[in-house]
C-alpha cells in the first residue's frame, strides 16, 4: 500500500474536460472550475472538493504536514454485505487515491498554526470508522498539547456501518477531547461542507466554538427522506441546507468559498487560545493535582508512547486493550 501523501493527488480525469453543473445544468470547463475553488462560475454552485483542493483553499502554501498517514482500516466485524468490507475499502482507495476518508495534520492559516482534519466524501461517503475517529481524536489532542486551534472540515454521511458500534463509539471518542480543549481554552472551529450528516454532525462537527458552513451545503442529522418519511410531513423549504441551519441558530455563518480562507484567518486572530497564566509551567497549578496517575506516568519512561496510543504500529490492535491505566498498572507491577 505505498500511497504517500495521498491528499495531494488530483482527482482523476483530464483537466480539459467539461463538467455539467447539477444546479444550473451548464457545462463548466474543469480547469476553470479548479481555478474558481470548484464553484460554478454561472450559478455559484459549490462542487465538492478533494482534501488536497481543500488544503490549497484554506492553508498557507506548503504549510501542511500530514500526521498519522499510516493509519489503516481493518475489518473488525468480518463484515460482508454484497461484498466484503475490505473489498469496499480497496475500491475506495483506488477510486480516491486516499488511504481513508479523513486526513489530519498541522498547517498554518495566515501564519497561524492550526491542527486540521479534513474529510473526503468520495471515500465511502466520508464515513467515520475507527481510523477516521482516531485521526480526529489525534488532531484534537495535538491541538491541546500544542495549544493551537483545531479546525475540522467535515463532509460525511455519518458513522461507518461496516464497523458497527465501533463506529458509533467514535462519536464519543472524537468528542471527549473537546472537554479538554474547553478546559484548556483552546478554540475549535468546525467547517461543515456538503454533505455533513449523521454521526459526524451528531458529534464533534456540531460542537465547534464557531461553526462555519458552505452555502447550500446539505447538513442534517437524518436523511431528508427519512425525516419526511417518518412523519409524513412536508419538509420546510430549504430543509437541511446551511442557510436553514443558520436561521435555526445552529451554525454561526454561511461563508462563500471565496471568502472562507479570509474568514477563517480573521476568526483565528479574534479567537486565540487562552493566554497561559504564570503557573502554566507548573503542572500542579495549571492542571490541578495530577494525583496517582501522573506519578505513575513519570515512571513509565518508554512505555508512554504506547499508553497515549500515538504510535502503536504493525499488527491491528484494539485500542482499548491498552488503556493507560492498564499499562501504568503493569509498569507498577513490574517495579514491585
Amino acid at each position: 500500500m505505498p500511497i504517500k501523501f495521498p491528499f495531494s493527488r488530483r482527482r482523476p480525469g483530464p483537466t480539459d474536460a467539461w463538467t455539467k453543473c447539477p444546479d444550473c445544468e451548464q457545462q463548466v470547463f474543469n480547469r476553470q472550475l479548479e481555478r474558481n475553488h470548484r464553484v460554478c462560475p454561472h450559478c455559484g454552485h459549490n462542487f465538492r472538493m478533494s482534501i488536497g483542493e481543500r488544503i490549497d483553499l484554506l492553508l498557507d502554501e506548503g504549510s501542511f504536514v500530514e500526521r498519522d498517514a499510516g493509519l489503516e482500516s481493518v475489518d473488525p466485524l468480518g463484515f460482508f454485505d454484497q461484498k466484503p468490507y475490505p473489498d469496499r475499502l480497496e475500491a475506495a482507495r483506488v477510486k480516491t487515491g486516499l488511504r481513508e476518508a479523513a486526513v489530519w495534520g498541522t498547517g498554518s492559516v495566515s501564519g497561524r498554526r492550526v491542527a486540521i482534519g479534513l474529510f473526503d466524501f468520495r471515500f465511502m461517503g466520508g464515513s467515520m470508522g475507527s481510523v477516521v475517529g482516531e485521526k480526529i481524536a489525534r488532531c484534537f489532542e495535538a491541538a491541546l498539547v500544542e495549544r493551537i486551534p483545531a479546525v475540522i472540515v467535515s463532509a460525511s454521511g455519518g458513522a461507518r456501518m461496516q464497523e458497527g458500534t465501533l463506529s458509533l463509539l467514535q462519536l464519543a471518542k472524537t468528542t471527549a477531547p473537546l472537554v479538554r480543549l474547553d478546559a484548556a481554552g483552546v478554540p475549535f472551529i468546525s467547517i461543515l461542507t456538503d454533505p455533513t450528516t449523521g454521526g459526524v454532525l451528531a458529534s464533534f462537527a456540531s460542537l465547534g466554538d464557531v461553526i462555519l458552513a458552505e452555502p447550500k451545503a446539505l447538513i442534517g442529522f437524518a436523511g431528508a427522506r427519512v425525516a419526511s418519511g417518518t412523519v409524513g410531513e412536508e419538509l420546510p423549504e430549504g430543509f437541511q441546507t446551511a442557510e436553514f441551519l443558520l436561521e435555526h441558530g445552529l451554525v454561526d455563518l454561511v461563508v462563500p468559498r471565496a471568502e472562507l480562507r479570509v474568514t477563517l484567518g480573521r476568526l483565528l486572530a479574534l479567537l486565540p487560545p487562552a493566554a497561559v497564566e504564570e503557573g502554566w509551567d507548573d503542572d500542579e497549578r495549571r492542571w490541578g493535582p495530577i494525583g496517582v496517575l501522573s506519578g505513575i506516568a513519570e515512571k513509565l519512561g518508554g512505555a508512554v508512547s504506547e499508553t497515549v496510543g500515538l504510535d502503536v504500529e504493525g499488527e491491528p490492535t484494539a485500542g482499548n486493550g491498552r488503556s493507560p491505566e492498564r499499562a501504568a498498572e503493569q509498569t507498577l507491577e513490574r517495579e514491585r
Binding site: K4, E146, L166, V179, S206, S294, A297, G309, G319, S323
Partner: protein, 330 residues
C-alpha cells in the same frame, strides 16, 4: 484481540435467525421499560421534567433516586406499553428537548456528586423535521460531550434497543452493562439492510453482520458485562430482571467508586479513546508533536485541565472488595 479480525463472510441463515431472535426479544412489546424497572430497583424516585428551554419530552425520563439508600441520578429512554402510551412516549424516540432534559439532570448530578445511571431503550433519536429544526444533532453531540466530562461515576445499562446516536447520547459510561437479550447498533438493522442490501427484508442478515447482540458487543469491548435475563426473557419476570440489574449496578458502582475524580476522568477518557480497531504502519512523518515534557504531555492528555475540585464519591459509594476490574476493557 486478534480474534476480532476474522475474514469477511456473509452471515449464515442460522446466524441471521439467531441475531433476529435477539432483536425481536429486545423489541418485545412486554419487555420491561425504564419506568417499570425503576420502582423495582430503587427505594425512592422522583421524576423531574423539562429541559428548561422548550418542552417536556416524555420519550426520556429521569430524576433522583435512592439505590440501597444512597442517592443517584437515573435517566432512561421510555417506550410505551400500548398504542396510546407509545404515541405519548413517541415510541421512546427523543426529540432534542429529551436529550437536553437529560443534560440538565446530569449537570444536577454533577453538581451534587450523584452517580449517574442510564437506561438505554430506543430505536434511535427521532428523525422528524421538527427535531432537525431544533438541532437534533447538536443535542446528541452536546449530550455525549457532557457525559465524557461528568465528574461523577456513570453506568449505562442497555435494556432493550440500543439504537445509534439516540442511545449513545445517554450511553457514555464508565461501565456499560447490557441485558442478555438487548441489542446495540450503529443503525437499525432495517436501515442497514435498506442501504447495503437495498431491501429492508435483509434486516436479519444485517443484524447478524453488525454483530449487535449483547454477546457480540461484549466481545467487541463496547459492553463490559452482560446481565442474565430470567427464563425466556426479561418480559417473563420483570421483578427478577430488576433484581439482576440492581446487583449489577451495585457491583459496577463499587468498582468505579474506588477511583478518585482525576483517575475516574482519566479512565473514562482512556476507555473512549481506546475504542476502535486499526492497523498503523510507518508511512509518512511520525506524529512527533512539538512537546517539551513527557510528563506534561501525558498529564495533559489524560487529565482534565483546570477542573473544579469535587467531592469524592468513594464516600457515597464505598468501594467493595468483590469483582475486580477483570471485566473492564481487555
Amino acid at each position: 484481540m486478534t480474534e476480532l479480525v476474522s475474514s469477511s463472510q456473509a452471515p449464515s441463515a442460522e446466524q441471521a435467525d439467531a441475531a433476529w431472535q435477539r432483536v425481536q426479544r429486545a423489541r418485545h412489546p412486554e419487555r420491561p421499560r425504564t419506568l417499570d424497572l425503576v420502582p423495582r430497583i430503587f427505594d425512592d424516585f422522583v421524576e423531574l421534567h423539562g429541559d428548561r428551554l422548550f418542552r417536556e419530552d416524555p420519550a426520556i425520563v429521569g430524576g433522583p433516586a435512592l439505590l440501597e439508600g444512597r442517592p443517584v441520578m437515573v435517566i432512561g429512554h421510555q417506550k410505551g406499553n400500548d398504542t396510546d402510551s407509545n404515541i405519548f412516549r413517541n415510541f421512546g424516540s427523543a426529540h432534542p428537548e429529551g436529550f437536553r432534559k437529560a443534560q440538565r439532570l446530569m449537570r444536577l448530578a454533577d453538581k451534587l456528586g450523584l452517580p449517574v445511571i442510564t437506561f438505554l431503550d430506543t430505536a434511535g433519536a427521532f428523525p422528524g423535521p421538527a427535531a432537525e429544526e431544533r438541532g437534533q444533532a447538536e443535542a446528541i453531540a452536546s449530550s455525549i460531550k457532557l457525559m465524557t466530562g461528568l465528574q461523577v461515576p456513570v453506568v449505562a445499562v442497555v435494556l432493550g434497543e440500543g439504537g445509534s446516536g439516540g442511545a449513545l447520547a445517554i450511553g457514555v459510561g464508565d461501565e456499560v452493562l447490557a441485558l442478555e437479550n438487548s441489542v446495540y447498533s450503529v443503525i437499525s438493522p432495517e436501515g442497514c439492510a435498506s442501504i447495503l442490501w437495498r431491501s429492508p427484508e435483509a434486516a436479519p442478515i444485517a443484524a447478524a453482520a453488525m454483530r449487535m447482540t449483547a454477546e457480540d458487543q461484549h466481545e467487541l469491548g463496547i459492553v463490559d458485562s452482560i446481565i442474565d435475563e430470567p427464563g425466556e426473557g426479561a418480559h417473563t419476570d420483570p421483578g427478577a430482571t430488576a433484581t439482576a440489574i440492581k446487583a449489577a449496578l451495585l457491583a459496577s458502582l463499587a468498582r468505579i467508586s474506588r477511583l478518585d475524580t482525576e483517575t475516574l476522568l482519566a479512565t473514562r477518557y482512556a476507555r473512549l479513546r481506546g475504542i476502535g480497531v486499526y492497523r498503523e504502519s510507518d508511512v509518512g512523518p511520525r506524529a512527533a508533536l512539538d512537546e517539551p515534557s513527557l510528563r506534561r504531555r501525558i498529564g495533559r492528555l489524560l487529565h482534565l485541565p483546570g477542573v473544579p475540585r469535587r467531592p469524592r464519591w468513594s464516600e457515597i459509594w464505598p468501594s467493595g472488595d468483590d469483582n475486580n476490574d477483570s471485566e473492564r476493557g481487555a
